[in-house]
């Protein structure tokens, strides 16, 4: 602990002259441990064990790992949906737990994996809900508050970015999985946050929309220093679009680094317990993962 606080004070000292807002990392995660609290069951397994990493503002971080490695739990902890049992998470230099829910909502947008909807809000209404954290509201969550023109315009821009403007008046309950997922991404974009946390954002998307969403994210990163943390099973997508990759296995950070440092056969085979082929993407030179193919699928 003393080590931690030392590094903290030196960092604060360094930051002091430069200007605090520019220099704080978006996320600073320090030895976070988490497990689900359920009575009666003796589930002592840590879902997240001693996870530490730092995400700079304007960085795109991909979180990968096998099923049950704790990716989604980590994202939920970062989104302040679940509290870590130990450790500390700082969001732009201030402890996440000490920030108000609404304040977090103005800084961090979240797109969850399960986007099933029950009530027939139109797509436009759903996307507009992303403006909710920016509404001034008091104790009684104030009144009718018709959306002002600015909010509506922002929502429309967000819908354009993910190509769902033509669905604006359709009920979200009638959409296909991919359309609904894009609507949820548009909602998070309309939130105009500095950080986006995305859980499998491209899981239901066809190729065109996968590429489109990724380029929208990269554009926002360039234009407005958007920080993106995304969980994905798609190692290739992560390799192509993320600045750094965090590889989780059984709740522990196995590797954290640039794509070429993490996406390499030895590491992947030991974590995923199967053989994979890793070569170079012909255009970008970034690592590319392929399944071994028929006849070679046996263990390592």
């Amino acid at each position: 602990m003393s080590e931690l606080s030392d590094s903290r004070s030196t960092r604060t000292a360094m930051v002091g002259s430069v200007g605090v807002l520019q220099s704080w990392p978006a996320y600073d995660v320090q030895s976070v441990r988490f497990r689900y609290q359920s009575r009666g069951s003796d589930a002592t397994r840590w879902i997240l064990e001693d996870v530490s990493f730092c995400v700079q503002e304007g960085e795109v971080l991909g979180i990968v790992g096998p099923n049950g490695s704790g990716k989604t739990s980590l994202l939920k902890v970062l989104a302040r949906l679940m509290r870590p049992l130990q450790g500390r998470i700082d969001l732009f230099g201030q402890e996440l737990a000490s920030r108000a829910q609404q304040e977090v909502a103005r800084l961090v947008g979240v797109v969850q994996q399960d986007t099933q909807q029950l009530f027939p809000f139109t797509v436009a209404e759903t996307v507009l809900m992303g403006r909710f954290p920016h509404r001034p509201h008091g104790r009684w969550t104030g009144g009718f508050g018709w959306e002002d023109q600015e909010d509506v315009t922002i929502a429309e821009q967000a819908m354009m970015m993910v190509d769902i403007l033509h669905l604006a008046h359709r009920p979200v309950t009638d959409l296909s999985g991919g359309e609904r997922q894009r609507a949820m991404i548009a909602r998070a974009l309309a939130q105009k946050t500095k950080v986006l946390l995305l859980d499998e954002p491209t899981a239901f998307l066809d190729l065109q929309h996968q590429v489109e969403i990724c380029s929208v994210l990269l554009r926002l990163k360039e234009e407005s220093r958007l920080t993106v943390i995304l969980v994905s099973h798609d190692l290739n997508l992560v390799s192509q679009y993320c600045d750094r990759i965090l590889l989780l296995d059984r709740g522990r950070v196995v590797r954290l680094g640039r794509p070429e440092e993490v996406i390499e056969p030895g590491t992947l085979e030991s974590v995923y317990r199967c053989r994979v082929l890793v070569d170079r993407h012909p255009n970008t030179g970034l690592p590319r993962v392929t399944l071994p193919g028929r006849g070679l699928s046996g263990g390592t």
């Binding site: 797509v123 509506v152 354009m160 403007l165 604006a168 008046h169 360039e222």
Partner: protein, 400 residues
């Protein structure tokens, strides 16, 4: 909606950006997004909000919908005043109202029969029906959004059977068989409703948070236990009192005095206005609990306040009218199909439709085998049951 289509086509056309990634300039000019992706800058400029504006709830649609529903409510109330054991002509109804406004009703020495029936019997009973229908539908909407279950209504949580049990215990202890006349019974019902609320909340909140499925399950269990207790009390009462209790349990409206009606109006209005204040929270909560939290809603606090308000309103309603079912479930459903899901419109519209529906149902209940009456709960169940079957069979997509 032709205007929406007209706008959405060019907007969609503008959006098609088949320019390959390579052709886009790679350099970033700080502070200028147009420099990054010239073809996309026009996309941003073209976002005028017109398309989105056409697809969301607007002030004018809100006013128009509620205006039409309010007019319908007034029209239906006139028709309801007309019917009865002795029909009263519409001209006569208007005359009585005009006289009542001008305070001329006592000039005539002989009792004005029409005026007495209208003002002392039909009018207060109709208002009570409207109020009860309003409350049940509003609470139904709130609980459906809160529990993210389109099948939720005041009864699912066991709050209304708790209230009913309270009132039944009151009867057992000798508080009488006519329900609205006794001031003790509403208090008993209210206490029972609160008890149910506390039990549901304690059981469901035994975990760190309040998981919605355990809330529902707790309600189901409570309902079973309370119903058994109510049936037990009914079976040990003397026959004439148990008949009154059965009628009340089935849901019956009786003409209240204006004094007790005024008290009820004040009480329910406060509850309903506070519930209406949660409109935005309900909208966001309908997205799902975790999504609502990521949008900055304090979900635990919102759940608590909506839950308590719903229990208070339900307790009062059950103690004056018994178990009138299906309104809290069916009305919000039907209204949602027409108005959409936005609670800013859904809540007041459901309240108006629920009130109108119960006024109509009660008129049928008191005229169908006139001069005898049948419990209005039977009418609402007969009307609501088939609708529910329709939902279950043909609109499975609307159910959880």
């Amino acid at each position: 909606m032709p205007s929406i289509r007209k706008c959405s086509v060019p907007a969609k056309a503008l959006f098609i950006h088949e320019v390959p990634l390579k052709q886009r300039p790679a350099t970033v000019q700080p502070g200028s997004c147009a420099g990054v992706l010239p073809n996309e800058s026009c996309r941003v400029d073209s976002a005028s909000g017109i398309v989105a504006q056409g697809a969301i709830l607007t002030n004018s649609r809100w006013m128009a919908t509620l205006g039409i529903l309010a007019l319908t409510a007034v029209t239906v109330s006139f028709i309801c005043l007309h019917f009865g054991a002795q029909p009263i002509a519409y001209g006569e109804i208007l005359r009585v109202f005009v006289d009542a406004m001008n305070r001329k009703e006592i000039n005539d020495g002989t009792a004005d029969v029409a005026s007495t029936i209208l003002l002392q019997v039909r009018m207060p009973r109709m208002l009570l029906g409207f109020l009860v229908g309003c409350s049940l539908a509003t609470v139904g909407v709130a609980l459906q959004a809160l529990l993210r279950n389109p099948l939720a209504d005041p009864y699912v949580l066991g709050v209304s059977s708790g209230a009913a049990l309270g009132a039944a215990v009151g009867v057992l202890l000798g508080a009488g068989t006519t329900f609205l006349a006794e001031t003790a019974l509403p208090v008993c019902g209210f206490a029972g409703g609160l008890l149910a609320l506390v039990i549901v909340y304690r059981m469901a909140a035994s975990y760190e948070q309040l998981p919605i499925h355990s809330l529902l399950l707790t309600g189901v269990i409570l309902n079973a236990v309370f119903s058994a207790l109510i049936m037990f009390i009914t079976s040990i009462l003397e026959p004439n009192r148990s008949y009154g209790m059965m009628a009340w349990l089935m849901g019956t409206l009786t003409a209240p005095t204006y004094g007790s009606l005024a008290g009820l109006i004040v009480y329910l209005s406060i509850g309903l206005v506070l519930l209406f204040g949660q409109m935005w929270a309900l909208n966001i909560l309908a997205l799902g609990e975790e999504s609502a939290r990521t949008l900055g809603i304090d979900t635990e606090r919102a759940k608590r306040s909506i839950f308590v308000l719903a229990a208070l309103v339900t307790g009062a309603v059950v103690s004056v009218s018994g178990m009138i079912g299906f309104i809290g479930m069916v009305v919000p459903h039907a209204v949602r199909l027409v108005t959409g899901a936005d609670h800013r419109l859904l809540l007041p519209a459901s309240a108006l439709v629920g009130g109108t529906f119960l006024m109509g149902a009660d008129t049928i209940a008191r005229t169908m085998i006139s001069p005898a009456e049948i419990p209005v709960g039977i009418i609402t169940a007969l009307a609501g049951g088939p609708f529910f079957v329709y939902l279950l069979l043909w609109r499975k997509d609307r159910l959880a």
